[in-house]
């Protein structure tokens, strides 16, 4: 299946859970294709978001966001998000990082809510309709219940998968990355881009690294550098030059339109996007060519 | 069994030459097909060595070169060319396969030049490991198409030694091993008469006559007392060739 076919399965108005966090392994190739295909009124869900959600918002694809954070890290605030939220064009459902993860955890475990203490006593309890106070039936303690999230689609970028859709993550930073699997298990349709589709032999050699067995995966598409300009763990660094370019362009709606034209709408597909970035830059970002 | 190709007959005849447990030096093309077939059937413990430094390849996939990564994956030892070739001089190689542009009645081969050396009419690839194998392996199997311009009275350039100038030739040159023991072509299987060291017809392939073989040979061939028929591949051998070894029919001339 091509990326185009995979993204065609996302419909206007869908609730879409976006993998990755802290400018790492966001499914940027998928996001570019969503923008190319002109999706509207998407309800995005995540737990630590940045350029992934901000770009979709700036491209006019988003009705609401449900996450703990949308920002461009060391560069500053997410400007498209700001303009849309402050202009009343975007519904924002506020979480903490832990409740942002718990909403997916509940669904993945087949429950309608997940108990936590984190948001108690904060304004999150009032601001977020998906948080409610409950009393423990055994101890009488107060808890916050996080409503199970039910995304229609989860979009992820992972490291490897076999042709059947068994998705693996590299051992390095494995635990950091495990939330993506929880996110995926909460969704009905799961679209995963990977750095490389690998042999059965490779998956079997490291069976413990399989985070998403194929029964949880709808489609796997090979998209090298599919997280660019976000980082991909030990494989390649953040492209800070590109993130900086994005940040500058997102300061105004017009400048941002120019960025989208150049980087997203102009290139016909992910390969054209990569050719525009250039192999020289990608190789300079690449930390490890042979990952075993 | 439908249309057995001449190449399949050659591959099976060559595979027959590999005894289980032997260490064999292998090149690309039909010799590799034969080696894989041998390993999948009667010679599973045979060890395949390639001049690029790959030792004991476990064949899963037909390779197109002696340094092919498909040979590397699953091999036992990956080393250098000097190691692989010094196995020949050290006497560890039982069998080698050979081809060439020309062969003469003493099994000498030319893979260097046609029409002179310094200004040849055709400059050919050169020895590679052929001379080393011909000089040092326990025994040699030659494989080539049977054409008059290939089977010549005397090779224009002697790249690889068969029996050189005849009886005693190898010994005088200080070479080791028995020399060539079989020539397998698309018409026949031949050997070398022990005393004269001259090429001798052993079997003809199905549908081929000894006269046809001689007419396509540029020198008088000796004939075995009884010239038999080269065995065709068994159904099992054909199935292995067509489905496992060379399903694209690159060398056996038939798609699986």
């Amino acid at each position: 299946m091509t990326l185009r076919d995979a993204v065609a399965q996302i419909k206007d108005g869908d609730t879409v859970a976006v993998g990755g966090h802290t400018l790492r392994r966001h499914p940027m190739a998928i996001i570019h294709e969503i923008i190319r295909q002109g999706r509207r009124n998407l309800k995005l869900q995540g737990w630590n978001s940045g350029i992934d959600m901000d770009m979709l918002i700036g491209a006019g694809c988003v009705a609401s966001v449900e996450t703990s954070y949308i920002g461009i890290s060391a560069f500053g605030l997410a400007q498209n998000f700001r303009r849309a939220a402050e202009g009343g064009r975007l519904k924002v459902i506020e979480h903490s990082e832990t409740t942002g993860i718990d909403m997916f955890r509940a669904t993945a475990m087949g429950m309608s809510f997940f108990p936590t203490k984190t948001p108690l006593g904060s304004d999150l309890m009032q601001a977020n309709e998906h948080l409610a106070e409950v009393i423990c039936p055994f101890t009488g303690e107060r808890y916050a219940a996080v409503k199970a999230a039910r995304p229609d689609v989860a979009i992820l970028h992972a490291h490897t998968a076999d042709q059947y859709g068994n998705v693996q993550l590299d051992l390095q930073r494995w635990h950091d990355n495990s939330v993506d699997a929880i996110l995926a298990k909460a969704a009905r349709t799961v679209l995963v881009t990977v750095e490389q589709i690998v042999s059965d032999e490779e998956v079997l050699r490291n069976a413990l690294l399989t985070v998403l067995p194929r029964k949880f995966v709808t489609a796997v598409i090979e998209a090298p550098y599919g997280a660019h300009p976000t980082a991909c763990d030990s494989r390649y660094d953040y492209d800070l030059e590109e993130v900086g370019k994005y940040y500058e362009a997102s300061k105004s709606g017009d400048a941002f339109k120019g960025y989208l034209e150049e980087r997203v709408l102009g290139p016909a597909d992910h390969w054209a996007y990569l050719d525009a970035i250039g192999l020289e830059r990608l190789m300079a970002l690449t930390r490890q060519r042979v990952v075993r | 069994m439908s249309d057995v190709t001449r190449q399949e007959i050659m591959a099976v005849a060559a595979a027959r030459e590999i005894k289980d447990g032997e260490v064999a030096f292998i090149g690309t093309g039909l010799p590799m097909v034969a080696a894989y077939l041998a390993k999948f059937t009667h010679a599973p413990s045979s060890v395949l060595v390639f001049e690029s430094g790959i030792v004991d390849a476990r064949p899963r996939e037909l390779a197109t070169g002696v340094g092919d990564f498909r040979l590397l994956h699953g091999c036992v030892k990956a080393t250098g060319l000097y190691y692989a070739l010094s196995l020949l001089q050290g006497g560890f190689i039982d069998l080698g396969f050979m081809g060439g542009a020309e062969v003469d009645q003493y099994g000498n081969l030319n893979s260097t030049a046609i029409g002179g050396y310094a200004r040849p009419t055709v400059r050919l690839p050169g020895s590679g490991g052929a001379n080393d194998i011909g000089s040092l392996a326990g025994r040699i199997v030659i494989m080539m198409p049977h054409e008059k311009r290939r089977l010549v009275p005397q090779v224009q350039y002697l790249t690889t030694p068969g029996f050189l100038d005849g009886p005693g030739g190898r010994e005088r040159a200080g070479l080791r091993g028995e020399g060539p023991t079989r020539v397998i072509t698309d018409l026949a299987v031949l050997d070398f008469e022990p005393r004269s060291k001259r090429m001798r017809l052993l079997t003809v392939h199905p549908g081929v006559t000894p006269e046809e073989v001689q007419s396509r040979t540029g020198f008088p061939l000796l004939r075995a007392e009884t010239v038999g028929e080269t065995p065709a591949p068994s159904p099992e051998q054909a199935a292995i060739l067509r489905q496992r070894v060379d399903p694209e029919g690159l060398y056996i001339g038939k798609k699986g």
Partner: protein, 308 residues
């Protein structure tokens, strides 16, 4: 100092004089330093002498560009396709002088040099035209009787190329270079040559090298210049990194059979590209990524069938 070893591809090539006696790493369609060779042709290097085992892609490119004066070698052939037409034409026209060896003989000449001894005794080549028909070589091999046993051998003299150019997998900044898979002749070439230039897919931290010292083929003290050149072997392959680009090799072979077609190839892929990155841009990221080795197999999945 470590920093001094690292240089650009153009600087490394510029350091090679016209007429140099060169030996190149790789073998047939595998880890041949093609980025270096293309840059040589672009910089107008000429009258090159090759001391070679089977570096057919180097020989045919240099011959086709009219830069090869003579070669002592064992075998130039495009496996699975046919002979090297540019090289053959050059020899047939008397433009390229040749001296033929067997694999073992030419390698033994490099080994003798690597071992610092003036010759090595070998058995092959005896009795054949490799011994009896001479090319340009003043000294090739001499028959000799072993002083202990009287056994006949041939003595081959040490061969010391001016420059060895080797493409390896990775090296640290000191030039400690590693290779996955088989190593062909690079171990000996690096010790026989007076000067060693290494191009690598990636320059890595020394910790990476020292964690797997068994993969190190060239210790840094043998290496004079180090160049980072990702996909520097293309269109040949690099085990565990990328397969040979068989489609490109096939197109090249077809073009090499006709001089006009070959001229077009040289223009498109050598002369009209400003540098190695421009060459890779021409190939395109999609094609390069498709050649990537599978981490479990060491070769590209597109060339491998799945487990049967």
């Amino acid at each position: 100092m470590a920093r001094d070893k690292i240089c650009s591809l153009s600087e490394a090539v510029a350091s090679v004089p016209d007429g140099a006696n060169m030996t190149f790493g790789g073998f047939a369609a595998y880890f041949t330093p093609m980025a270096f060779v293309r840059e040589m042709i672009c910089q107008g290097k000429r009258d090159i002498e090759m001391t070679s085992v089977a570096e057919c892609w180097v020989a045919d490119h240099l011959a086709g560009a009219g830069r090869l004066r003579r070669a002592r070698f064992s075998n130039f052939m495009f496996e699975g396709m046919g002979r090297c037409y540019n090289f053959s034409r050059g020899v047939e026209r008397g433009e390229i002088a040749v001296e033929d060896y067997s694999h073992f003989a030419i390698t033994s000449r490099l080994v003798a040099a690597a071992l610092g001894i003036p010759f090595l005794p070998i058995k092959p080549m005896a009795g054949t035209d490799l011994m009896n028909t001479r090319g340009f070589e003043a000294e090739k091999a001499r028959p000799f009787a072993c002083p202990f046993t009287g056994e006949s051998v041939l003595l081959v003299p040490a061969a010391r190329p001016d420059v060895a150019v080797i493409h390896a997998a990775r090296a640290d900044r000191d030039g400690n270079a590693q290779l996955f898979g088989n190593t062909c002749v690079i171990d000996e070439q690096a010790r026989a040559a007076s000067r060693v230039i290494v191009t690598v897919e990636e320059i890595v931290d020394d910790g990476v090298i020292r964690q797997q010292p068994e993969l190190t083929v060239l210790p840094g003290f043998l290496v004079d210049a180090l160049v980072e050149a990702p996909f520097g072997a293309h269109p040949t392959g690099m085990y565990r990194y990328y397969d040979p680009d068989f489609a490109f090799l096939t197109d090249y072979y077809a073009a090499s059979r006709d001089e006009t077609a070959f001229r077009r190839y040289l223009d498109e892929y050598v002369f009209d590209v400003a540098d190695h990155w421009a060459y890779l841009r021409k190939i395109g990221i999609r094609r390069l990524m498709a050649l990537r080795a599978d981490p479990g197999l060491g070769l590209a999945r597109i060339h491998a069938r799945t487990l049967s």
